[in-house]
């Protein structure tokens, strides 16, 4: 018994050294997630402030046009340039020096407000926001023209599941990146198993009385250490450099973290059982990881996905894992029903992968 404990300690020690002495691990499991976090934070994180440069051309004839321009100035999000002629404004729009051109109606009383946008940017969020702002401004101008007071007005407020109403997109992104990197270190981490099989090390170990169960436990143990390093590093960078907010529910976070790490290690184990070479292992893991990255709500909310994709995302383990991690580190949600659902789905994925992989390994070693 004592020597079994020593064996486990030695195996764990060996796996830890094999993990942290591998440069690939440093790059893909540590550097790469940090890089990805920084890139996404810089592009999308921001403070959420929207602003756009708009040129308004044409005569401000009439009260409606006057009201339109004043309302545009009052939004505070539009930087307005007024002294350009139409040709110069269009040129600047094509060069993307400005985001839009608004042409006032020629007659002061009726006619169209025209909104010109850059065609290459027609799907961008800036263009869409400008469209809706211009629509509202036109409505305001109409009211002035007809003299009618609006009966209804729409006020938009953002509501989130968080107790913390300062929740920002960067918080969403940070927790997503943490979940993503943990899932990847599980998915990619079992490549070592393919390697030791290819090199004949697995065969060599089978010729010793080593307990392969202890070998597996030690392997998963090393995975945990790597994931803890990732969580700490990404959280520190997210909070210090990008002022992300965290609101930990320690138990929810810890449970999700443990069950999730096990589940993704199980998936990695399954991939190792079906791939003969390192290349095929990396190919399959990349594919799985790529699909989940976009369909599991890491960068974009699941509800934004087209309807036919949503059922897919509602079975992927990463969807449940990222939800659990967000619950545990951003929303501060305690041990609620959602958490148990997340844990149950993750546990199911882990258990099925593990059992399937074990059967495959058995069948293979029996056929040798």
């Amino acid at each position: 018994m004592a020597y079994r404990m020593k064996q486990l300690r030695m195996l764990f020690d060996a796996q830890l050294k094999e993990t942290f002495r591998e440069r690939q691990v440093w790059f893909w499991s540590i550097m790469f997630p940090v890089l990805l976090l920084v890139i996404f934070m810089v592009i999308f994180g921001g403070d959420g402030d929207f602003s756009a440069k708009v040129a308004i051309v044409g005569e401000r004839s009439g009260a409606a046009a006057e009201a339109f321009v004043q309302a545009a100035e009052a939004t505070g999000v539009l930087k307005i340039e007024q002294d350009l002629d139409l040709r110069e404004a269009e040129k600047r729009l094509k060069d993307k020096r400005i985001d839009a051109v608004i042409v006032l109606p020629e007659s002061g009383e009726t006619g169209d407000f025209r909104l010109l946008l850059n065609a290459e940017g027609q799907t961008s969020s800036t263009s869409q926001a400008l469209g809706s702002i211009a629509g509202q401004l036109t409505a305001a101008a109409n009211q002035v023209a007809t003299g009618a007071a609006p009966a209804f007005d729409l006020k938009t407020e953002y509501v989130s599941a968080s107790n913390n109403n300062r929740l920002k997109f960067s918080d969403f992104l940070l927790s997503g990146m943490i979940a993503l990197s943990i899932s990847q270190s599980g998915l990619f981490g079992m490549v070592g198993l393919v390697e030791i099989r290819r090199k004949g090390l697995l065969k060599r170990l089978k010729m010793t009385p080593v307990n392969m169960r202890l070998f597996g436990i030690a392997n998963v143990g090393a995975r945990f250490i790597l994931s803890i390093v990732q969580v700490i590093l990404l959280t520190i960078i997210g909070v210090l450099a990008f002022r992300a907010n965290v609101d930990f529910s320690p138990l929810t976070f810890l449970l999700t973290f443990i069950v999730g790490t096990l589940a993704f290690s199980g998936l990695g184990y399954l991939i190792s059982a079906v791939s003969k070479t390192m290349e095929s292992y990396m190919g399959i893991s990349n594919l799985v990881s790529f699909i989940m990255m976009f369909l599991s709500g890491i960068f974009i909310d699941v509800n934004v996905l087209p309807g036919y994709l949503r059922p897919v995302s509602h079975v992927l383990p990463l969807t449940f894992f990222v939800d659990g991690i967000r619950g545990g580190m951003v929303y501060g949600s305690g041990m609620n029903a959602d958490m148990w659902l997340n844990l149950a789905v993750l546990a199911a994925w882990g258990a099925v992968s593990f059992i399937l992989a074990t059967l495959l390994y058995r069948r293979r070693s029996a056929s040798v």
């Binding site: 020597y3 064996q7 060996a14 002495r21 591998e22 090199k199 010729m207 010793t208 009385p209």
Partner: protein, 308 residues
């Protein structure tokens, strides 16, 4: 006493009959070598003994135990160096040995093994930085860490340069000195001749001959090849005539100043030719008699050319 007994073991892979009715036994403390060309069935035989493959028929006992009943106990008491040196590449020499030591209920001290395989100076080096010969020595060291009663070395010197090969031979000879039973496979005849107490020649899955190297060579005819080099073609041609009349010479070939004679009684043929040369004032520049080797044994028993 036999520490290893293999009796009438066969193994097929699909339609390929890799091993057919192979039987042999190894004695305590000897170096027992299985030799044969590539694909002869050496590794398959060894893997069945090591419990990695199950024979289709036949029986194997290791230290009086069988794999069906005593797998764990056999593993505790044998040491293995497989053909591909399978090591933890990112661990050091010392860490690999210490890790493997933890697999066994008893083991030799790590420094002692490092001394035996001559890697003490490299103990803090990661495996991936070692040379091929050093890796091979470490692989042997891992097989010795549990102080095994039998050690199996599968082609330990294949692909190594002559100096690295010498180093491995030294280890095998040291093992014999301390009384370990070693089962070795190789496809180098010279190696088998130098190291083995007994040799088992395998070809196409069958045992073709088994004995001490000396006895195997002794079983060949006493015929030897004599090689003489004369000062000139004319001198060699004169001597050729004398050789053809010598009663023990079975074949005579001349190529310029070189004369090759096969003889059933080489010392008599030699005496006759040297007498002829000095009597006729012919001067000889080189004399040699080629000894028969295991290679000739292989050719004699299989009728095939030996290729490394």
């Amino acid at each position: 006493m036999h520490v290893l007994e293999v009796s009438r073991v066969s193994k097929s892979f699909g339609s390929v009959r890799a091993v057919q009715e192979v039987s042999f036994a190894a004695n305590r403390g000897e170096v027992f070598t299985i030799i044969g060309p590539n694909g002869a069935g050496k590794t398959t035989t060894l893997e069945m003994i090591e419990g990695l493959q199950r024979p289709d028929s036949g029986a194997i006992t290791v230290l009086g135990m069988t794999w069906d009943k005593d797998a764990e106990n056999i593993k505790m008491r044998i040491g293995v160096q497989p053909q591909s040196s399978a090591l933890f590449d990112l661990l050091t020499v010392e860490e690999n040995l210490a890790l493997f030591a933890s697999f066994y209920d008893r083991h030799r001290p790590v420094p002692e093994i490092m001394e035996l395989i001559n890697l003490t100076d490299h103990r803090r080096k990661m495996v991936k930085t070692l040379s091929g010969g050093q890796k091979q020595r470490l692989a042997i060291g891992l097989g010795l860490i549990n102080d095994p009663d039998i050690i199996f070395l599968d082609e330990p010197t294949t692909g190594l340069d002559p100096q690295a090969r010498r180093n491995i031979w030294d280890i095998v000879l040291k093992l014999r000195e301390i009384g370990k039973t070693t089962v070795l496979t190789t496809h180098y005849m010279e190696e088998a001749e130098q190291l083995s107490d007994r040799v088992c020649i395998i070809d196409q899955g069958r045992v073709v001959a088994m004995d001490t190297p000396k006895a195997l060579i002794g079983r060949l005819t006493r015929e030897r090849e004599i090689h003489l080099k004369f000062e000139s073609d004319a001198a060699a041609a004169d001597a050729e005539g004398a050789a053809r009349t010598e009663p023990h010479a079975t074949r005579v070939e001349r190529n310029g100043e070189h004369l090759r004679i096969r003889s059933g009684k080489p010392e008599a043929t030699m005496y006759h030719l040297l007498g002829f040369a000095s009597g006729n004032g012919l001067s000889i520049e080189q004399v040699s008699i080629r000894e028969m080797s295991l290679e000739d044994v292989f050719i004699a028993f299989t009728g095939k050319e030996w290729r490394d």
